[in-house]
């Protein structure tokens, strides 16, 4: 079943046309990877889904419902959470307050507790730093907090913009493992923008490759991993 569909979405920032007609289809319960070079429009695609950027034409459909005219906070309430590019944690809030804000739309106290524990198990350092200001964390710790905060929303669809940015290799593997588990156990659908195409395709079911605001290639992750062009452009020269 299709959970999210982008149909020919065009979006621009002033004179810069960042998306030139993007169509994407995300199945419920899937893990979908979004690849592309710097400036290809990956972040912009996520922003149009979460309502931060309004499409000039085309539309976003979620769970059979068009998202036109919805504000970001209405969209969150529909069950879409985003882990934004560049961490964007609340610097003046403590780590635990940051996590609490991730669960802003939720009312189930017990569930929130439980998820906070989960985050702390996943990232023990956050527990140690719970009363410290978010802004005092190291880059990677902030990235962990951003991911943790996204999980706290317990969304149906989680949009992740470069979750592995600045994380140590060991942790990257751990995080993707955790994401897979969440996907499996809770059925959370994941749409992941990732520069690390290897890791992304290894964990995803399906992938899209963007180029200058357009979908250049799409396919199951096996297909993409076999695609010469993709391998050359995004997976670098392997030694």
């Amino acid at each position: 079943m299709t959970l999210l569909r982008l149909e020919n979405v065009v979006a621009s920032y002033g004179a810069v046309r960042a998306l030139q007609g993007i169509s994407i289809d995300v199945q419920s319960g899937a893990i979908v990877a979004l690849l592309g070079a710097n400036g290809a429009g990956k972040s912009t695609t996520l922003k149009t889904i979460s309502g931060m950027v309004r499409p000039a034409s085309g539309f976003v459909e979620y769970d059979g419902q068009r998202l036109e005219g919805k504000t970001p906070n209405q969209i969150v309430r529909l069950g879409i959470a985003q882990i934004p590019e560049g961490r964007k944690i609340f610097k003046d809030l403590t780590v635990s307050e940051n996590l609490r804000m991730g669960a802003y739309t939720r009312k189930d106290k017990a569930g929130i507790e439980q998820d906070q524990e989960l985050v702390f198990v996943l990232f023990p350092i956050l527990k140690e730093r719970a009363r410290q200001l978010g802004g005092s964390l190291s880059g990677g710790e902030q990235q962990m907090l951003a991911i943790g905060r996204g999980l706290m929303a317990r969304p149906r669809l989680l949009l992740l913009d470069e979750p592995s940015l600045g994380l140590a290799p060991l942790l990257v593997a751990d995080i993707f493992q955790a994401l897979r588990r969440i996907n499996k156990e809770r059925g959370t659908t994941l749409l992941i923008v990732e520069q690390n195409a290897h890791v992304a395709l290894k964990n995803a079911n399906f992938g899209y490759v963007l180029q200058v605001g357009r979908v250049a290639t799409e396919g199951t992750s096996e297909e993409l991993q076999r695609n010469r062009e993709v391998v050359e452009s995004y997976m670098g020269t392997q030694q």
């Binding site: 690849l35 070079a37 400036g39 560049g86 350092i125 140590a168 520069q195 290897h198 995004y234 670098g236």
Partner: protein
């Protein structure tokens, strides 16, 4: 000769000890890497070395000169430039202006400059010329007039590098230069870094979590964990070190690199 050396650096924030007795050295003309888990104290150490952060104890030497009391802005005059992990650019200004600010210490007498005296104008022209060359080297000559806040993430990292280069440094500290770049872009930057080192003789000290970068360009690598030295050696040695594997690389690392 050592370009940069630190001995027993300790830094703590309240209860958190970010650097605990770290010692290392960066030989002139080499590319040295610094790796370690998140929160190990890499950025803090960079801040100490570039004098943005005072250390509680220990010493830093730049070409064997004690620089424990230098101000951050004096470092470029010594020949040290750096980039930031969390991009720190002048978003409302163009790429060109961002690069030019890196060349700030080359403007000469500020009073002559302020009144646009002829000598100052000549200097300015040559600085702009150099900025253009740097942009070309980093393949971003078409973005010179673009406001930096409108550039995508990967490009902004490159502007950081360009700004550092504009100061004509002998040594550059790079904090995660390829974070947010895909493999092809990483390759390209790796090439650039190597060129800087080989052709311009710039010493490079870099922090990076991307092993394809670190293991391929570094002559020598230091590993720190919980603020302390964990290991050091050539890439091959480090990669084979069991402590490093269990604390940082993980078993699957060869898969990624």
């Amino acid at each position: 000769m050592t370009q940069l050396r630190c001995e027993n650096i300790t830094v703590s924030f309240g209860g958190v000890v970010a650097c605990n007795n770290i010692s290392l050295e960066v030989p002139t003309g080499k590319i040295v890497g610094l790796i370690g888990p998140n929160g190990a104290g890499k950025t803090t150490l960079f801040n100490v070395l570039s004098r943005f952060q005072d250390h509680d104890s220990g010493h830093i030497y730049y070409r064997d000169q004690d620089i424990d009391r230098k101000k951050p802005h004096q470092m470029v005059e010594l020949g040290m430039a750096r980039t930031f992990q969390n991009i720190n650019l002048f978003g409302e200004q163009s790429t060109l202006d961002n690069i030019l600010i890196g060349a700030h210490h080359l403007i000469g007498n500020p009073f002559a400059d302020m009144f646009s005296l002829p000598a100052a104008r000549r200097t300015e022209r040559s600085l702009v010329q150099r900025a253009n060359e740097i942009a070309e080297m980093l393949h971003m000559q078409d973005e010179l007039d673009t406001l930096v806040k409108n550039l995508p993430y990967g490009y902004r990292k490159r502007v950081e590098l360009a700004r550092a280069l504009a100061s004509q440094p002998e040594l550059i500290l790079l904090d995660e230069p390829v974070a947010g770049c895909n493999d092809e872009e990483t390759d390209e930057l790796r090439g650039i870094v190597q060129r800087l080192n080989r052709e311009l003789g710039i010493t490079i000290f870099l922090v990076e979590h991307d092993m394809s970068m670190v293991m391929n360009v570094c002559d020598y690598i230091y590993v720190i964990n919980f603020g302390s030295n964990l290991a050091d050696g050539t890439p091959a040695e480090v990669q084979a070190n069991a402590d490093v594997i269990s604390a940082y690389l993980g078993e699957e690392h060869d898969d990624a690199a």
